[in-house]
């Protein structure tokens, strides 16, 4: 079984490519891209291989084990389950598409790719690590390059803010890429501090001198500990997942970030947060999760409806998409909060669906912005005349986001709603359904204002459809959206097995136990 270290290959291929890129003093743009794309392709192939080779029956497979600091139980311990497979696939698809979407970048492109690949290594690592310390390490690797990626390569266009507090905005340089970068980094690192405290508390309480997720998962923690560690993890990971009211880094960050970074950030990184809440928070601290589930769910509902309404008000295209991410991540958190099989299946599926969808959105927004240098929806109109293919892809992404059957978004949202209806508070499902309708309202409104109408305004005369490599991202992402929308069982069966396994574990450990310790 363990003949070839597939997971290591997936995780470290981007890192190796990053080092290679640093080492070769190339000035050739093509070489840079070929190296980067090859490494993402290696990861993609590896992910597919793992997904196909994963045997039904669940559990962690493709295990690898390399000791790092054995005295305190830190190991590079890799393995995937159904959740991991889905998210590995998502990540490798998005980064593959993202590497193509950055093809036209000109400024310091080598460094850009180096940071991008390092970031992806971190993302892959989080999804396959079975060691909490390494998990956290990868998590930080995934978060930190974002600072430079946004701060250096971000969009220089500032968002002009009007209103009575204009002076404050000027004082803090709000709207600039540097502001967005530092805001994002500070908020996420504050979250990380909570996570680290939570992890150390668990390590200490379990007393097994091991950071292994499996060992820690078998331990039972005192209720009092769970009651504060779970919220800490929820807040920490939740900040990255865009949980209200700690979501505000997301619109600014996504709006300022370059295309591929937006794709990766909204498409994959936000999922790290949700994955952390579910995998670490809920599975390992079931009592805390059960006690706090109603808060998680209610906040998720706020996310969904509030995010959709806020998106409706935006006039900047990137802000619309960013707020829609806030809204859709609410669906993921809602599914998680239900603690039901349908809800968790739906939550993981929504991560995949939303990742693909929002990746496609940001790729398209990047294409549009690259030609118009304007993101103000009110200035656009009639773009379908000059960029029909973009209009088609945008419509498909919109439809997936509003839950059109046949696209991945529906499969995900519907399962989440099913879970919510059968969960602790059925009215959550109503709010979710309302959110889906609000999504239809703002996303179709935006599509109409951008693409429909007599023709582009005079200042946008030479718009055109994507050319050459720009097609790759669009086609790949759209194909996956349709594929996962039509045939959900390609990954749903594995997700389901894993979910059921976790929920079984939770129901076994549910009875409160006074003392902490590893169960025999």
């Amino acid at each position: 079984m363990n003949s070839f270290p597939w997971l290591s290959m997936i995780v470290f291929a981007p890192l190796v490519a990053a080092v290679v890129l640093l080492a070769i003093p190339t000035k050739s743009r093509t070489t840079t891209r070929i190296v980067a794309i090859t490494s993402t392709l290696v990861s993609l192939v590896g992910s597919l291989r793992v997904a196909i080779g994963y045997l039904p029956g669940g559990g962690y497979q493709f295990r690898e084990h390399y000791p790092i600091i054995e005295s305190i139980g830190i190991n590079l311990d890799l393995g995937v389950d159904g959740w991991g497979i889905s998210l590995l696939l998502l990540t490798s698809i998005i980064i593959f598409a993202g590497a193509f979407a950055s093809w036209t970048l000109t400024q310091r492109d080598k460094e850009f790719y180096v940071l991008l690949l390092a970031l992806v290594c971190g993302v892959f690592g989080v999804f396959v690590s079975l060691d909490l310390f390494v998990f956290f390490l990868f998590y930080e690797i995934a978060v930190l390059p974002m600072y430079l990626l946004i701060g250096v390569w971000g969009s220089t266009k500032k968002v002009a803010e009007a209103g009575p507090f204009r002076f404050l905005f000027r004082l803090l340089d709000i709207g600039g890429k540097e502001y967005a970068a530092i805001k994002l980094t500070l908020m996420l690192l504050t979250g990380s501090a909570f996570i680290l405290v939570g992890i150390l508390a668990m390590y200490d309480s379990a007393g097994a001198h091991s950071f292994s997720i499996e060992t820690l998962g078998r331990a039972t923690y005192p209720r009092s500990l769970q009651m504060w560690v779970f919220p800490a993890l929820w807040l920490g990971f939740g900040t990255l997942a865009g949980v209200f009211p700690f979501h505000t880094w997301s619109p600014d960050g996504h709006a300022s970030a370059p295309t591929a970074v937006s794709m990766l950030h909204a498409g994959v990184l936000m999922k790290l947060g949700a994955f952390g809440v579910m995998r670490i928070g809920m599975v390992m601290l079931p009592q805390g999760a059960a006690s706090w589930a109603w808060v998680v769910g209610c906040v998720a509902v706020v996310n969904i409806v509030y995010g959709a309404l806020a998106a409706m008000r935006q006039t900047d295209l990137k802000y619309i998409v960013a707020y829609s991410s806030v809204s859709h991540m609410g669906v993921v958190m809602l599914g998680a909060a239900t603690m039901t099989v349908e809800g968790w299946n739906g939550a993981i599926y929504q991560m995949v669906a939303h990742g693909l969808m929002t990746g496609l959105f940001f790729a398209l927004v990047g294409l549009i912005y690259g030609q118009t240098h304007d993101r103000e929806v009110g200035n656009m109109g009639g773009f379908a005349k000059s960029m029909p293919a973009v209009a088609v892809f945008f419509t498909i992404a919109s439809l997936s986001s509003l839950g059109m059957p046949g696209l991945a978004g529906f499969v995900a949202e519907f399962q989440v709603f099913l879970g919510a209806w059968n969960g602790p508070m059925p009215w959550w499902a109503l709010a979710g359904v309302l959110g889906a309708w609000l999504t239809a309202v703002y996303v179709l409104r935006a599509a109409r204002r951008i693409f429909w109408g007599a023709g582009p305004p005079a200042r946008f005369t030479n718009l055109s459809d994507p050319v050459g490599t720009e097609w790759v991202a669009l086609v790949v992402l759209t194909a996956c959206l349709i594929l996962f929308g039509v045939a959900p069982r390609l990954i749903l069966d594995d997700i389901d097995t894993t979910t059921v396994g976790y929920l079984d574990t939770i129901s076994q450990t549910a009875p409160p136990q006074a003392s902490a310790g590893v169960r025999p």
């Binding site: 079984m1 045997l55 039904p56 029956g57 669940g58 559990g59 962690y60 497979q61 295990r63 507090f165 004082l171 803090l172 709000i174 805001k183 209200f244 009211p245 505000t248 309404l309 806020a310 409706m312 008000r313 935006q314 099989v341 349908e342 299946n345 009639g382 509003l402 059109m404 059957p405 046949g406 529906f410 499969v411 519907f414 399962q415 709603f417 099913l418 209806w421 499902a429 359904v433 309302l434 889906a436 309708w437 239809a440 309202v441 179709l444 409104r445 109409r448 693409f451 429909w452 109408g453 007599a454 023709g455 045939a487 069982r489 749903l492 069966d493 389901d496 097995t497 059921v500 396994g501």
Partner: protein, 622 residues
Amino acid sequence: MTSTTSSADASPPPIFPLHADHLVLNLALIALLLPLACFVLLALVWPLRRAGRLAGWLSATVAVISFGASARLLMLVVGGEAPLTETVGWLVRDGKVIASMGVHIDGISASMLAVVTLVAACVQVYSLGYMAEDSLPAQGRYFTYHSLFITAMGGLVLAPNLLQLFAGWELVGLCSYLLIGFYWAKPSAGQAAVKAFWVTKFADMGLIVGLLALYGATGTFAWDAHLVGIWATAVPALLFMGVMGKSAQVPLHIWLPDAMEGPTPVSALLHAATMVAAGVYLIVRAYPLFELAPSLLLAMTWIGASTALIAAATAIVQDDIKKVLAYSTCSQLGYMIAALGSGQIMGGYFHLTTHAFFKSLLFLGAGAAIHAVHSNDIHDMGGLWKTTRISALLFITGSLALVGVPIFAGFFSKDLILEEMLEAGQYVPVAMLVLGAGLTAFYMTRVIVIAYFGDAAEGAEHAHEAPWTMLLPMGALGLLAVGAGFGGDLLATLWGQQYHFGMTPIGITTSVIGLGGIALGIMRYGTSTWTADLLGGLRGFILSGPVDRFWDSAWRQGLLPFAQVVGWFDRYIVDGLINMVAWLFIFLADRIKRFQTGRAQDYVFAVVLGVVAFIAYGMVGA
């Protein structure tokens, strides 16, 4: 690796159970998947799509083959073929399939499929002529959407459970959105398309919640589940909310008149014959659920009857020929809903069938007139009888069927509805429906008199008769508009019921009222001497669109400002607080940094002070 758990007996990989020798199944799959293949082909192979004409012929051929397959299927089912359900698992939960996709073939679905594919085939052939003046890529796009529509509608009709029905439901809604917005360069078309989507999707919220509740109560999406308690009423009521949107019942009908922005054949197929009837089909399909909710059924009767009356009254004052027909469609759907509410599923379904034929015929006829004069206004058409005699005749045939003149199709189905409702004791709704029938006769007469027999308008004098591609499907539908009424027996057989036509007092009354409406219409609009305006005051009120205004203000003064407030709140309060924290740190740091004088001596002084304090502490502590 870990040992396999008990859930290892997961179902085998999803492969559609094709049986080479299973004719019924294969026919259904041909009807369903051939248009899908055509859609995929046209969507992916852009040179073919942009070639236009070829794409059109391909799509139309596929539609005709699809109809052939469903007709053969219907014959087999009429011939006594047992109902058949074939599915593959689609969603799983705990290793078990909770939702499946597939086909369910019985009398209801087979007959509906035949109706859908027949009208679709006619409309596509018609479109070959009607759309000929559009650019070639536009034509290709048009037929691509149409192929998708047949698949989606087929999936809806053949659905083995409510979830697939819902999937098809949403997909036909998508086709509707795309086809209403077909002329996307026109701002009004874009607004109409989005409005149609929003309104139907708004209603679909009820449908989704209904599905959730159904699943919550029974664990399946089956339409014959047995519900108890509150859910017995709540689930069908929620489903009915979706129906009100899709089948354009007051007050959610507002999107249908606007939907006339699409090409006329689209209105004929989607917004008259098939898609809007999906709501009625849903109720027929899920009748075992609706049956258990008598209070809901009563509400349905009243909503249906009100819609029939209100929409018919609104149709009278419209000048746009398509809007007249659109309100007429609302009105006729009201008849069907009212019939279903009274427990007369056979009557409602029969009317759905005949309505599909004559209303699509009317739209195609209207399309021929529009094609001839390039205007939707009936006053621009005047005198078309002289130039386009065949299509005028067909239009009049359709009108007679709609009005319910005896021997025409509409007569039989409308008569059946009224008769059965009367038996059920629904006197007031019946009166409303009969009055509606009179109004129907009046507004159709108005259209015919003005458009075909009125003073010749400028453009109408040089109008040309439509090409054969348009006349042929109209002729086919015309035959059905005349003859479909005699198919009641056939339909009844499919349902395992008895149907005997007999002339009853209510039938006679309705016919008389209908003829009276025609006479009144001819008197009012045929001669200019009779000038008393029956509807003077009402006309202004109806034209101002009270229901539309209500929704419009809900949107403009409700949702949009609320979103503004939320956006402001997010920017200034939520984000403001976070910026405030940042600002607080900057502010404090600004104060604290004053300690950094930058003079080395000050730092040394601080060190000395510290040492002194340390020593002092040591001496005091000691």
